[in-house]
Symmetry: C2
Subunit: 303 residues, 2 copies
């Protein structure tokens, strides 16, 4: 049995899975903030799942953790995880010291990509497009996660696609993330609704002219991300996940609509059949926790 | 000993190499036009190298061929090789029927990427940016060529980066290839010079205002291609090759200059160190022929 933990900005999801990713136990916790509290959340999740499975943490075949930010898989250090209050934090050691076992840490988008890949098995390659506060992708190439030479594969949110576009927090202009992300929507669409993207889509459906422009720009940006992933890496399938994937079929059909329009104007794009290569993440599937479990290293007792 | 043939629009280059790609014999021929003439060029190249090596074609460990266009590596069929007058042509069978041996056919950019990778060994991953009439890239991931799920990896020339950019032959607008390619330069810079790119750079160096605008747009496009390859696939190194790489250090230093400017404005880009990850293809190295030789399948006598 393998154990996986997905540490998110607000909640942490943990699972016990079998060797193929089938879920045996599942648990949710509120995520703490800062080095000690995040480590404690991970430890509580591991202990909680172990208890549900009625075994000790060291009896799992592997334990893996997915977390936002820049992750060094070798050392288990996590940096730039702003929403969690972590920077240059040795999460792997903090957990090892408390539980006496080794764990593997991965970026949460990589973990979600791999979990989704194992769940859907859409051929030998897949891109996972994470539409959350930001925009990033995880790649699976030849059945294995491709993290990149320096851990930066899939950072497509910061590819500029419009020289006269909006300024981006990264210092560039016209980045995909300025339109195709939750933060992009929040910037353009002022609302008190707890689900700004849903409110935007509803207003556009109701005929609000400003909402239509913002929604179309968002959808166009998501379609552009699909095009970039396929034209660069030519992964067989793109799966849209992340918080905004809860928009569901409204999002998927809008993105497919844009891809179909592009194909009508370009025989080259039509030959790539982008429209049928985009899927939506199955809702309620804890992809990052399952992926982290499957990517986790062998358990070694460290004390 | 392995044999590789690179069939280009005007000339065909063939090599015999050892197991690590070291060149033992080398030969150049003028490429014919149309199905029969191209097949005959490949056969002459194979026979010519065999004669130089004083063995028969069937005695090579492998024979591989790199050719422009869409190539089905399994069947050996070549499509959309417009400059060679080929479409839906079974080149592998034409060669087999004449010589009685099997050969492997690959896209020439894939072959050049792999040949360059074996020559430079710049880590476990590399992107080869082919600046020719068009713009395309070849990827090497985990030491192996990544052709993509449908053979389309690296088609970055048709990623639009400017909504108000030029119309592209592919039916889209603002594609990278409209500025960062030989055809892009030819469209913008009218000249009788046999080397329009060299003429453009010289005119820009001499202070011609129009030339400076066109050159800067070209260089910016090449730098954008580097950024897209690293932000998407995070290959360790990008090597610029293709006909326009003969611009040499003038091109490399201009591209690095743009990447340095971007890094100065964006801490995120600065952290990726794009500037030091771009190299120029070593001139006069027959990358595609060497790569084709190394990618070639085992020789099987077919008659």
């Amino acid at each position: 049995m393998r154990l996986g933990v997905d540490i998110g900005g607000t909640k942490t999801e943990a699972v016990a899975v079998d060797g193929t990713g089938g879920i045996i136990q599942r648990l949710r916790l509120v995520t703490g903030f800062g080095h000690d509290a995040v480590a404690q959340t991970a430890i509580s999740a591991i202990n909680g799942i172990a208890e549900l499975c009625d075994i000790s943490p060291s009896e799992f075949t592997s334990i893996g953790i997915g977390i936002p930010g820049v992750v060094d898989g070798q050392s288990g250090r996590v940096s730039h995880a702003v929403n969690l209050g972590l920077d240059d934090f040795d999460l792997a050691s903090a957990i090892s010291e408390s539980l006496g076992i080794s764990v593997r840490i991965d970026n949460d988008v990589t973990a979600a990509a791999y979990g989704t890949y194992q769940f859907l098995r859409p051929g030998a390659s897949m891109g996972y497009l994470n539409l959350g506060t930001g925009l990033a992708a995880g790649l699976v190439i030849d059945g294995k996660p491709w993290r990149g030479a320096r851990g930066g594969a899939g950072e497509i949110g910061h590819i500029p696609v419009d020289p006269s576009g909006l300024h981006c927090g990264c210092g560039q202009r016209g980045c995909l993330e300025t339109v195709a992300s939750g933060s992009g929507i929040a910037r353009a669409w002022a609302t008190d609704d707890p689900y700004p993207a849903r409110s935007l889509f509803d207003a556009a459906d109701a005929g609000d002219a400003a909402a239509i422009v913002i929604r179309d720009s968002f959808v166009n940006g998501v379609a552009s991300a699909v095009r970039i992933l396929i034209l660069t890496a030519d992964v067989e399938t793109i799966v849209i996940g992340g918080g905004l994937s809860h928009l569901g079929d409204d999002l998927l059909s809008a993105v497919r609509g844009v891809l179909a329009e592009w194909a009508a104007a370009s025989p080259f794009l039509a030959s790539l059949d982008l429209e049928s290569r985009v899927l939506l993440m199955p809702q309620a599937f804890p992809a990052a926790a399952v992926g982290a479990a499957l990517l986790g290293g062998q358990i070694r007792e460290t004390v």
